[in-house]
Symmetry: C2
């Protein structure tokens, strides 16, 4: 099952709106076949694993380990239950029950047909593997990960907004790797004004680029922003309904997509935005600042995961920008807590990962 999870991981960020799935076929203690779901529209992990076994007679009496309950419906591909039943496999071990009601009951069908089944092996790992898919199904909105690079006392920029660079090269490289795992990255208009970022994934050999979402209630973005210089079709600008329609036309002419949202007090309604992004098949979003954008997502309880990078800097906070720009609670008991804290180092930088307790 560890191997199946390892295989599934290869496709993180590529299967949206499908889950990532890996499958391994074992006979007499040896792996005879394996596969994973590479991309939406391509065949499922189970079919891939079966296909990988050259000598089909070996499949008789073999066991399949699969990270997610096999589907039992005709969609883009035929049901996996059928492929398994036709293969000769006589035992199926599943990590995680399919949280999607539309495709579930695959395991029941296999059982009825006399296949020995087991469910729940490495379930926690499999759940983590499909945190995006599970959030999509459960909450009917994109999975939101908050990413910030800050000083050791939580500042993402000093006076005047200077934030380059708080962290070193290794940490920034990992941040690009994170971009490659998400359908979209998101920033506020202030970040565009201050940093003029490209927001692309600049890892060697990576070809899939994330969508770039900009929260810009009043459509203040400059047409000469660097972001327009590359992949203009992958730009989504969320603005209020009152935003200048002439500017909207200009943006569209540059191939950017305009998402008109409800707004309040000059800020985009994030729940409304969520629905609109989800209907556009944006399954996961990496929120990359700035302070007020992070604050809004935290305030609305819309953070599912955090990637907090710390550079080895400790400096005065007066006049600087804190990672979370919204009102502090009146007591610590009201403060949002994280769990599943993980900590690793990139040179002298630290990455802390965690999940809000209310999430997932």
């Amino acid at each position: 099952m560890s191997r199946a999870i390892q295989l599934a991981k290869k496709a993180i960020g590529k299967t949206c709106p499908n889950p990532v799935v890996g499958a391994v076929i074992v006979k007499d203690g040896e792996i005879i076949g394996e596969g994973y779901h590479r991309k939406v529209g391509l065949s499922h992990a189970e079919a891939e694993a079966i296909k990988s076994v050259k000598d089909k007679t070996k499949l008789l009496g073999s066991t399949m380990y699969v990270t997610l309950e096999p589907c039992n419906h005709y969609g883009r591909t035929p049901p996996c239950t059928l492929a398994i039943l036709n293969s000769g496999i006589n035992r199926v071990v599943v990590a995680l029950e399919d949280p999607n009601p539309r495709s579930s009951h695959g395991i029941d069908v296999l059982k009825q047909k006399g296949i020995e089944t087991k469910i729940g092996v490495l379930e926690k790992e499999a759940r983590e593997l499909n945190e995006v898919f599970i959030t999509n199904i459960d909450k009917k909105r994109p999975f939101y990960a908050l990413k910030a690079a800050m000083t050791l006392n939580g500042l993402i920029a000093v006076r005047g907004g200077n934030s380059q660079w708080i962290t070193g090269e290794k940490a920034r490289l990992h941040a690009h790797f994170l971009r490659s795992n998400y359908t979209a990255v998101l920033v506020g208009i202030n970040t565009v004004h201050m940093d003029d970022p490209l927001l692309t994934c600049r890892l060697k050999g990576k070809t899939r680029q994330p969508f770039r979402i900009i929260l810009d209630t009043f459509l203040k973005i400059s047409l000469s922003s660097k972001i327009f210089s590359i992949y203009p079709r992958k730009i989504l600008i969320a603005c209020g309904k009152e935003a200048d329609s002439d500017k909207q036309r200009k943006m569209r002419a540059m191939s950017a997509k305009i998402i008109k949202c409800k707004a309040k007090d000059g800020r985009i309604d994030l729940h409304d935005l969520s629905q609109k992004l989800f209907s556009l098949n944006i399954c996961s979003v990496l929120i990359e600042g700035g302070s007020l954008v992070h604050g809004s997502f935290v305030k609305e309880g819309l953070v599912d995961k955090c990637f907090l990078f710390y550079g080895p800097i400790l400096c005065g906070s007066h006049g600087a920008f804190n990672a979370i720009g919204c009102d502090a609670p009146n007591s610590l008991s009201q403060a949002p807590r994280l769990t599943d804290i993980k900590c690793r180092m990139f040179g002298e930088d630290i990455l802390v990962e965690g999940k809000p307790c209310s999430a997932g």
Copy 2:
């Protein structure tokens, strides 16, 4: 030498104003004796190690490993060089040259008398072991360590000052262990007003209590503060020269010591305070907040080490207290950087240790 360092560590915080020193005597690949300097006034590590060897004939032709260059002067105890020369030891391996000019040249004396010597083994570790002593000698002031417990975005208290508790029990226990390693702990008057702390070391079996220093320019401390309820002779209150002399008398009557310092803009001059603390044999100070006190020490470049605890909380910053309450720099290149970053976890809390690049 590792064993010698291990022995020396037992006395951290107890030997002030002396260094901590450990010594091990080896003959034919076996440890035949060991000792460390336990407390100021008691015998040195070298003498302790020699004393620990019951059969003195074994000392002939043996090697001593000692973490610091043996002294060569008569102080509270006779010179260690003499003890070595009289013992029969014929080889001395030293980790760190003595940074104190008054007691140095011990190694030269040994060499002249025909003892084989070597210097620099595990020097980095030995330097760290005596970071307090080295700072005392080099800078002629106490060693300052900044300790803060904060949220993951650098807040030490939310609205209204609530800070109990950001970190969990294991982290707080470690903070008490840190107190036991320092001559004194230091807080500002706002922390006394908000938290009314005891500032004692509440580890079982620990008897030595740190001095408690309060920065209180205008002597606003309440006579009913909990801090007066225990070890009143271990309270030092730093106030400005204009502070109410009647209140000063009352404080003294309660056994607290008043340190009158220069003050500017309502804040104690930390360089003046440093001189006064040092003359009182306060070798090391653990700075425990709050925000403005940390900010002042950072601004004055008076931080030698940081212990930054993070509780798994991510909350809004507006109206909250940042760990470092002083003006932010205008650019990141002017921001104080830390080095030697170490990271460990206490349950779901994180402790990051580091040293300002300019320090030691």
